[in-house]
Assembly symmetry: C3
Homo-oligomer: 255 residues x 3
């Protein structure tokens, strides 16, 4: 087992289990994003045959670190760096040469959901846990490429409805619409992820990986820079209604 | 409340409720299409924040006015004008700058279904009401762009099956396959549409509308002239088997 | 009734019922593929209004004839000819000018499933029969175009999951995810296919066929040579792990 301050890594028979560990809610600041990207690249370099991406006990990841981003004010360079770090992590997951299972023991809103959508397989804790892209609720706009990742799993019209409303379904509904692939008891999600990976590791590896590569071309394509349009996203960040929405959200959750 | 002869308009807190009122079945002749387009554009100009599109008590709209179209014989200019008026209405709905809910208290065949597919959200009366694209049943061919609107909500293979057979599902099946988003008692569909819009109006408006704009690009793209190919459609209209199919349909429904 | 050694043909009122008859499992060697292509082209030339494609009692078709292909060793020309013959049959089904129903009284793995995916409608025997693309299980990679045919009916994410795992669902699950359109008792699948075709034959034929042509453009497009990439497929065939996977599969099924 190797570790760094922010990502706990455990290796079982070729499967690298990575657990984000930035309490209390794995808010995705540049440090956490950069650490996760680095640990993923290390795992690939070490010949990992599969990856489990896990998070906290009640919250997989709450998404981008909004208090941190608000603290940057209108420092466009720092804002761009923070968002670049996040999308670098998303692209590292999407382009993983081996299968990645998201093992979500709790909520996965916004950026937490985006990371899950970049994985091959999503397991969510059963119960009152929510997953989804609630950007409109806090005054943000999910870029076209991120909308495409959601549409790929739930269909274009249902994605439109979820995105426009900023609705995050609970686990049971998330399963029924295909936003997650499996539900499990919270304490079992990581085990289930390993079991799912183990089954793939029984297959002839080269053909399995090549089949996966063909099937996932559109996942990688969705994250192309022109489909994320970070300039526009960061420009929108400083709009008054966006800032108001973000501050209202923080007030609601007691920050 | 403003009105014109063919569209009743009621305004509640920014929501413009438009009810087609051309008895008995809101057959879409050029007068009704032109009136609906004009009332929609007025609503946008007046700063409407959302639109409810409603129709009759048993029939939302029966689609194009076939007796009128047959009365035009082979007058290609008049036929083109009638179809252009209809597609102008469809495009006005699809490109609405604010959300549009179709509140269907009754059947929505053919052109009635097309208008509903151009809206953001579809509520249909529960019960033996049908919605769908039954063009093949009467000797017509739904253009590629219209087929794409259906495929967007029910998937490409299910759209193919419905389109080729000209099958119009009843309300319960329409809901289960995603052709409509919600069922309600017939007398409640307009209320439910306002409630759905009210929820969107609580959100930060600019981000909600921008998210919606991205999610609905393919709806607008489907209605591009080259994907409707009206020349071909109108040329096909005068084919003997099409005319026979249309006259047989009118005989069945007692016209 | 006309016949050839490998395909039994029965004609009922414009419907040509073709039954593959290469015991024990309708393995798709060049002789069977060539015969099926020829019989289909004859049926079209004779003015068939619909096609039923049937196979064996327990196995619709087991897919490509792997023992035959292995017997070719590294004879690239012969391997290319065998695969070309198969894709020629697939394209003949996909480009059929009239509707084609797959009537599957039994299993449809791999190439058997591909032929079914090229048809308009799929009826599978209820019970423990499986259908799907299990290529990864035996060391092969389904080309992008074939993956697209599966994604068209079950959606891109579910297709990815089935393809990467090489999972073949049983009949009930195949129906629930849209991989087949209808289940019937094994002895009824051919009757049900005729009943389905009969309903389409009641419609105005030219508009029905034109609607079908528009709806199925993407099926034909998926089989374009550059999306099958036979050179790459045949090059992969002789890889050691592919050959090992194929030989292990034959050992399991007792060949």
């Amino acid at each position: 087992m190797t570790s760094n301050a922010l990502i706990e890594t455990t290796v079982h028979g070729g499967i690298h289990q990575l657990r984000m560990n930035r309490p209390p809610v794995n808010a995705l600041d540049p440090a956490l994003c950069t650490a996760l990207t680095a640990v993923l690249q290390d795992a690939f370099a070490q010949g990992a045959r599969g990856i489990v991406l896990a998070g906290g006990a009640k919250v997989f990841s709450a998404g981008l670190d909004v208090p941190y981003l608000l603290s940057l004010g209108e420092d466009r360079t720092a804002l761009m760096q923070a968002w670049e770090a996040f999308f670098q992590t998303a692209r590292t997951l999407a382009t993983s040469p081996v299968p990645v299972a998201a093992a979500m023991a709790g909520h996965a809103p916004a950026g937490g959901c985006v990371l899950a959508l970049c994985c091959d397989f999503r397991i969510l804790a059963e119960g009152p846990f929510r997953i989804g892209l609630n950007e409109t609720q806090v005054g943000l706009v999910a870029p076209e490429g991120i909308q495409a990742l959601l549409a790929r799993v739930v269909g274009p019209h249902r994605a439109e409805r979820l995105l426009v409303a900023g609705h995050m379904p609970e686990a049971a509904q998330a399963l029924s619409i295909g936003l997650v692939d499996e539900l499990a008891a919270a304490e079992e999600v990581e085990n289930r992820a390993r079991i799912w990976l183990d089954a793939l590791l029984q297959l002839p590896q080269e053909p399995m990986l090549e089949t996966r590569g063909i099937a996932r071309r559109d996942v990688i394509a969705a994250l192309a820079p022109e489909r994320i349009d970070l300039d526009r996203f960061v420009a929108a960040w400083t709009r008054p209604d966006t800032q108001a929405g973000l501050r209202a959200m923080l007030a609601r959750i007691g920050k």
